[in-house]
Amino acid sequence: MDLSQLTLQEAAQGLREKKFRSLDLTQSCLKKIKEMEPDLLAFLKVGEKEALAQAEAADQLLEKGGEASLLTGIPLAVKDNILVQGMSCTAASQILKNYLAPYDATVIRRLKESKAVILGKTNLDEFAMGSSTENSSFQITHNPCDLERVPGGSSGGSAAAVKGGEAIYSLGSDTGGSVRQPAAFCGLVGLKPTYGAVSRFGLIAFASSLDQIGPLTKTVADSRLVFQELRGKDGRDATTQPEGENVSRFSLQKLRIGLLKDDLLKEVDPAIVRRIKEMVGELEKAGAKVEVLDFSSLLFALPTYYIITPAEASANLARYDGIKYGKSAAASDLEEVYRLTRGEGFGPEVKRRIILGTFVLSAGYAEAYYQKAWKVRELIADDFRKAFQKVEVIISPTTPSLPFKIGEKVQDPVQMYASDLLTAPASLAGLPALNVPVGEIDHLPVGLQIMGPAFQEELLFQVGEEIEKLTPSR
């Protein structure tokens, strides 16, 4: 049996039943990493020694029974913008090339308390800015479903690692689709939790009013297991909320599903739209009611997103100044230290967004761009609130296109930005959204997105499990 192919649930069960040890599971993933990495380039750093030591510690805990959780002894991969103490954390940027994390992110602390096994750190678009992982300053990650294609982004390394069998599950971060879109491109389940559900402490900030950490897994049940471990109030992130009941009264017969109007989907590959409608049709047959939502503010979600996020990024990235940590350029005065460090340390997409963010925040333009974008963000959030009075969930495609070829869009930022068309809305409104794979078109994975009201992740999981049942198995 190839243990690296197990789901998290299967692996946890196997550990409890002592069919194998965490050490076997971890070695099987490490072997897969050696085998697959030359093709995939999903990892920026593999901590083999640390992982094996963690596996042994987990085995001791499992042997004793008691405090073990379902994540105990399960090997995972972590996006390289989440701090793991003592390991490098680069955000795939030259400016943090030699940075060693001085502490654990809250999510990592929680996983370590459960004696999870951290295999290593995965590739991403620099500072999580991108939709293909081609903006990494270190390497280009390949999609395990088709090596000529991108794995999506920005959590492309985390998606490729799980799809390639290199990790049982992984953590990514999602600002405008960075977990959901790579999950869709690699045929995985990806959750963007409600803003405030999961602590951002120790996540390298991109756009603080949207960033969330979320799991990439093989199944919906696995996504729930990881989410339950990650969520909850954290004194180190003031935006986190206490765990609610988060119990839904789910009944497929009474479920009301919202669909987006066709004019919102005209930029989407018609084959993807057909597949999503087929799936919704199946749910309808099972008794669900479907309503098409009049949701015109969503047409403006993407431009809103591409004003607010560069603005926040330009402020957040001001901390990389060559003084406190990271790269520091040789220079003759203080201002030159700043300019040269940042000029040498940041890649083209990061520079583009810093300039753009500086522009939309500058005197004379802030009202027309930044303030206006916040108002439109309000309209979008309000339209979601109204929609969720009529329906329990909204279903849409996750991505406007199938996984595209490496190099296909990287020269044209506006075309690349369009990847976030259907994922940016839930991010702007702070709502939870889940990607569930719904088979393949032309041998490439297709993703379906379920959006729900704030803190209703459990409802998304339950609907996701229904959709999973309708889909040919992984």
Binding site: Y103, A318, L334, R352, V376, A381
Partner: protein
């Protein structure tokens, strides 16, 4: 829409050195991005009054609590230190 002079000014505000050779592409990209996001001008948002209904960050009582004890680790990340201080270039130029 956005000229090279303006890009250079923004780069100066952001303390970001840009290579001359990268300016034409950056200028072109910014123009197309700004044209794209400029769609927002069409939206009537006159009824929205500031930021509504967003949950405020949770406040906590103003009392001391232990922080992370990683001062040495943080110092060891600094490019240049002297004793236990982070060393920076002088802010004011000599003679000014």
């Amino acid at each position: 829409m956005i000229k090279e002079k303006e890009v250079k000014h923004l780069a100066q505000l952001a303390r970001l050195e840009l290579a001359e050779k990268d300016l034409p592409k950056l200028e072109k990209d910014l123009a197309s991005i700004l044209e794209y996001v400029g769609q927002l001008k069409k939206v009537d948002a006159s009824k929205v009054e500031g930021r509504g209904k967003w949950p405020e960050a949770n406040q906590r009582p103003d009392e001391a609590r232990p922080g992370l004890s990683v001062a040495d680790e943080l110092l060891s990340l600094a490019p240049s230190i002297q004793d236990r201080y982070i060393k920076v270039k002088s802010v004011f130029k000599h003679g000014s």
